[in-house]
């Protein structure tokens, strides 16, 4: 087939700036694309437009004050940032949470995973043209936010997990509300599946796009659903269990064909697994205190403050100048909706951490974009970014 169109086309590369203020870049990511007609020759992401200097700032605050700041990293599912940081601090101090707090933490984390995947589904489908899925997913997200609101009063940033357990116990009707939400959730998942998986436009936009082989995923440090869709069989909840995850049975979906559609299927499956984990946790919910007690590192419980003078002084000192953490270094990573979010805390024995390094999953997940983008069409890069599920708060830190 002799093609006139290709022969006399002068190889002129056009640079296009998919800038920080763009509806499809999931935040303030800027990509400089070099295009040859509609085919991408080179894509270089430029980040830093949301750099908030969190690592520098956390050196000026005590361990307890830092919790609030790490909510704002992955602002789609804040409870997961808390768990990573609190896990690191607890391991540094050598304290644990009481069993009831552990189970409630698992419930909060899995609710955040469902919320994070709902936001991903909303924006990914919206980018490939399925507008209704966005509004459906936000309806479910509002239901999850109502649960968080009834728990702590804050819709998004609860920072409910603190060293030694939780800030407070759950209200009475909370488990009933969760069960109500979880009962109707499978019907909703069926709705999304019906909207997307038999929709030829979505399938054509997502199938065989952004292929990542297993070796590239490991070499580029991908983690989470983006890596598990390329065959990397690694999930922190199962390989390095933390927070009591080892006594729940759930499967980890791993696919091997690594395209954007595989990442879609992995995340949809993870939402169903998260629902089953919460149901198991609701059954397993023990009674008992929600916060551990520790003479040095934790604040005395609220009701004991008025009994004698020492606990009152200790309470006051705890919240003003914090506790002196033992010197040492700790790295603790948890499996968030995006991947392995880890906190590397180095303490020199004072109240404030000497250095906090945040290993963000989206940071490495995005670093593979210059490798997989060339060869795709311009409209494919929108689907690739959607499928990688990046959030700019934790990339730019």
């Amino acid at each position: 087939m002799k093609t006139y169109a290709k022969k006399d086309v002068s190889r002129r590369v056009m640079t296009l700036n998919m800038g920080p203020q763009h509806p499809a870049t999931h935040g303030v990511l800027r990509i400089e694309l070099e295009l040859e007609g509609e085919t991408i020759v080179k894509a270089t992401p430029i980040i830093g437009y949301l750099h908030t200097g969190v690592e520098k700032h956390s050196e000026a605050k005590t361990y307890y004050q830092n919790i609030v700041m790490y909510d704002r990293l992955d602002y789609i599912a804040p409870a997961m940032n808390n768990m990573s940081y609190i896990g690191a601090v607890e391991r540094l101090l050598g304290i644990g949470a009481p069993p009831r707090a552990k189970v409630i933490r698992v419930i909060l984390l899995e609710l955040s995973r469902i919320k994070s995947h709902l936001v991903w589904l909303a924006t990914a489908a919206h980018d490939t043209g399925a507008m209704t899925v966005l509004l459906y997913c936000f309806r479910e997200r509002e239901a999850v936010m109502k649960l968080y609101e009834s728990l702590s009063g804050a819709r998004m940033m609860q920072s409910w997990i603190c060293p030694g357990g939780l800030r407070g116990d759950i209200p009475d009707g909370w488990t009933i509300m969760i069960k109500a939400f979880l009962d109707e959730f499978p019907a909703r998942i069926k709705e999304y599946r019906a909207l997307l998986e038999r929709n030829p436009i979505f399938l054509k936009r997502v199938k065989d796009i952004g292929y990542i082989s297993r070796e590239e995923a490991v070499a580029y440090g991908l983690s989470g659903p983006s890596a598990r869709a390329s065959g990397v069989n690694y999930d922190l909840r199962r390989n390095r269990p933390y927070g009591g995850y080892n006594d729940y049975d759930f499967e980890v979906p791993v696919l091997t064909d690594g395209c954007a559609y595989a990442r879609y299927r992995v995340r949809m499956e993870e939402m169903i697994q998260a629902r089953s984990i919460i149901l198991q946790a609701l059954v397993k919910l023990p009674n008992g205190p929600v916060r551990a007690e520790h003479p040095i590192f934790l604040a005395p419980p609220r009701e004991k403050i008025h009994e004698n003078m020492e606990t009152l002084i200790k309470h006051f000192k705890f919240f003003t100048s914090g506790f002196k953490a033992p010197a040492g270094e700790v790295y603790f990573a948890t499996e968030t909706g995006k991947g392995e979010l880890g906190f590397y805390i180095i303490s020199d024995g004072s109240e404030k951490p000497y250095r906090v390094k945040i290993r963000a999953p989206s940071f490495s997940n995005l670093s593979i974009l210059p490798r997989i983008a060339p060869g795709h069409m311009l409209s494919d890069i929108v689907a690739i970014i959607g499928s990688l599920d990046i959030v700019l708060g934790e990339i730019d830190r």
Binding site: G48, E55, Y234, F332, R355, S367
Partner: protein, 189 residues
């Protein structure tokens, strides 16, 4: 723990590298840390990735720590992991502030590319043979290295830093931004 040799990665590394490992200890989260010199970093990283006994192909992160008081000014930390056996190893390099450079391991681990660029701009540690040593996160008019302990956390010097940026910004655009700050004392902690 390597499945077949059931040895920790640090012990295997000790066997392979002999006395090049200056010191090794176990951190609080039971991950072994090996302290080596930067001359044989590339050799160690080559071993870590390709040697079937170690086989740690996943680079978790690279970061630097600014030890203010000790003579060795910077510590550069690399964390490797093997996703199948889930064994982790951390490498620490101590470099002095006089010549803060580190060889780049992007040729071994492409995920190191961005981590090293961030370390370069935040600490001022030069990473040699890095394929793309541009700034990653900071705006291009900032020349200081914020994560060093000498950079101010807050207070008077930070406010001067803000004012310099506002003035620089005002020359470029036509709008005269507000440099006076009613809550100035809020900045001086």
């Amino acid at each position: 723990m390597h499945q077949i040799l059931d040895k920790k990665p640090v012990d295997i590394l000790k066997i392979l590298m002999g006395d090049n490992i200056l010191d090794s200890y176990e951190s609080q989260d039971s991950v072994d840390v090996a302290v080596i010199d930067r001359q044989d970093l590339l050799y160690a990283v080559g071993l870590i990735r390709d040697n079937p006994a170690l086989d740690l192909r996943y680079l978790s992160f690279i970061t630097a720590i600014d030890h203010l008081e000790t003579e060795k000014m910077f510590h550069v930390v690399y964390e490797f992991a093997n996703l199948d056996y889930d064994s982790r190893l951390r490498i620490r390099i101590q470099i002095s502030e006089k010549e803060p450079w580190v060889p780049s391991i992007t040729s071994f681990y492409p995920s190191a590319n961005w981590h090293e660029r961030e370390m370069m701009e935040m600490f001022g540690i030069e990473v040699r043979e890095h394929p793309d040593p541009r700034k990653l996160l900071l705006p291009d008019w900032v020349s200081e290295h914020p994560l060093r302990k000498s950079f101010p956390h807050g207070g008077e010097e930070l406010w001067k830093f803000h004012q310099r940026t506002i003035e620089m910004f005002n020359e470029k655009s036509d709008y005269q931004g507000r440099t006076d700050d009613p809550w100035l004392e809020r900045f001086i902690e």
